[in-house]
């Protein structure tokens, strides 16, 4: 691949991750660097997204670039029946970079094949969302100062949650991690990821609840347990309150422990946690702008 697309988190090497982290830190110190001056970025959101789109567009604006695009497919030629192929073929002749979100899985990889300019995947259905993973990594590095020897708790929907899968793959590239998976029976971590960890000799443990063990965590990564994921609504009723993090649970946690969440949250983190200094999810969202500035720079070789 000559073009520096970012489609899947595994497209980047460990060195790439570290380079993105360095650049993100630099952008955090000085967010307004006009490296994109004179460049046009296409922001193609075939399905609506608030945080990802706004943080990308903020990053582009802070870098002095211009944006063309659309924020849902209703206002694009998709509603006239144009194929993704033709849309990408056309847009890649207009813009210097494409940022794309699409509801179908694999759409970003396909767009990268069709496009003559780099494509950054801003989420392709339930498949990949690599820029979220990189901002999660930046948040981990900022709060823990390292990627090595971390005990990472992943809580909630571990079956369908693409963010936890990608984060697991990325952190597994570093030294001696421990993973603790806390999920209801129906939403357990898929077997393929457990096989991957076993093959790499990485320790992981599975639990049904986490009140008693949370004191061991360096990072607690919370995700939303969605009602529509359950085949039996009774099962949802049984577990819906088990995966809620409350301020009272944080008493004996490590001083360096931080709580992450890809947002939006519904009720899985009680609002009384927000004022605890260990709640990091809003800063995490802020880090998204710096991480995306770094990803854009990397894709276009700007730094």
């Amino acid at each position: 691949m000559n073009k520096k697309d970012l489609i899947s988190i595994m497209d980047y090497s460990k060195e790439d991750y570290l380079r993105i982290m360095d650049m993100a830190a630099d952008f955090e110190e000085n967010p307004n660097q006009t490296l994109l001056e004179g460049k046009v970025v296409a922001s193609l959101f075939f399905e609506p997204s608030t945080r990802t789109r706004l943080s990308f567009e903020t990053a582009i604006n802070r870098m002095g670039g211009r944006i063309v695009g659309f924020s849902d497919s209703g206002s694009s030629s998709v509603s006239k029946g144009e194929t993704l192929h033709d849309t990408i073929r056309m847009v890649s002749q207009y813009a210097d970079l494409i940022v794309m979100r699409h509801p179908l899985e694999g759409s970003a990889r396909y767009a990268a094949e069709v496009s003559s300019v780099p494509v950054i995947n801003a989420g392709d259905g339930a498949n990949q969302h690599p820029t979220q993973t990189l901002l999660d990594m930046y948040s981990i590095l900022k709060t823990q100062k390292t990627f090595d020897n971390l005990n990472i708790f992943m809580v909630g929907d571990l079956r369908y949650g693409r963010t936890v899968h990608s984060l697991l793959m990325a952190i597994s590239q570093f030294e001696n991690p421990i993973f603790n998976f806390i999920a209801p029976e129906e939403l357990q971590m898929p077997e393929e990821y457990k096989i991957y960890l076993r093959e790499k000799g990485i320790r992981f443990f599975e639990h049904r609840e986490f009140t008693d063990i949370i004191s061991e965590a360096d990072i607690v990564y919370m995700t939303r347990v969605q009602k529509e994921r359950f085949s039996d609504p009774m099962e949802y009723e049984k577990v819906k309150n088990v995966y809620i993090l409350r301020n009272s649970m944080l008493k004996n946690t490590k001083p360096n422990m931080r709580i992450l969440h890809p947002l939006p949250r519904v009720n899985e983190i009680a609002t009384d946690v927000d004022k605890n200094e260990k709640a990091y999810y809003f800063q995490q969202a802020r880090n998204g702008v710096f991480a995306r500035e770094a990803i854009i720079s990397h894709a276009l070789n700007l730094k």
């Binding site: 899985e105 759409s107 990889r109 396909y110 392709d124 498949n127």
Partner: protein, 155 residues
């Protein structure tokens, strides 16, 4: 038994030059014909299905006159006829035998199992990495989901 074998041989007539593809599961016969594009060849083809064989209860056989296949082409049928054997015939004699091998990549042929995969929404040639050969497991290059042997549908 000998009598029986003789009869079987007569069911599909011999060819002077070409390829005999044997030990195809009967239910895969028409998929094999389609993958090898034998439905488009001008050459003479004879085939038989639901024949008795030691290995397969219901085997099929195809004889194609004056046509020979590259290994890459022939390996395309490995997904649906993993035990197929090829006999290359010159002047009524078998001059070479080949077995099929499951390739490392499968391009086209199989449909991605994931209904939300882009390859099921637009006219895209599928592409899979073969992550297991026995039983077959295919990882889609696009959506990264795995299609297992029992879910495989030929395009």
């Amino acid at each position: 038994m000998k009598e029986h074998k003789k009869k079987l041989k007569l069911k599909v007539s011999a060819i002077s030059e070409g390829t005999v593809i044997d030990h195809i599961p009967s239910e895969s016969l028409f998929d094999v014909i389609s993958i090898l594009e034998l439905d488009k060849t001008p050459n003479m083809i004879t085939f038989g299905a639901n024949l008795d064989s030691g290995k397969l209860v219901n085997k099929a056989i195809i004889k194609v006159s004056n046509q020979f296949f590259e290994n890459d082409d022939i390996n395309r049928i490995a997904l649906i006829a993993p035990h197929a054997k090829l006999n290359i015939i010159r002047d009524y004699e078998v001059v070479e035998k080949k077995i099929v091998e499951v390739p490392d990549r499968v391009v086209g042929i199989v449909k991605c199992f994931n209904p939300k995969c882009i390859t099921n929404a637009e006219p895209i040639t599928t592409s899979f990495a073969v992550i297991s050969k026995e039983p077959i497991a295919l990882k889609c290059k696009y959506c990264e989901k795995i299609t297992y042997e029992k879910q495989m549908v030929i395009k």
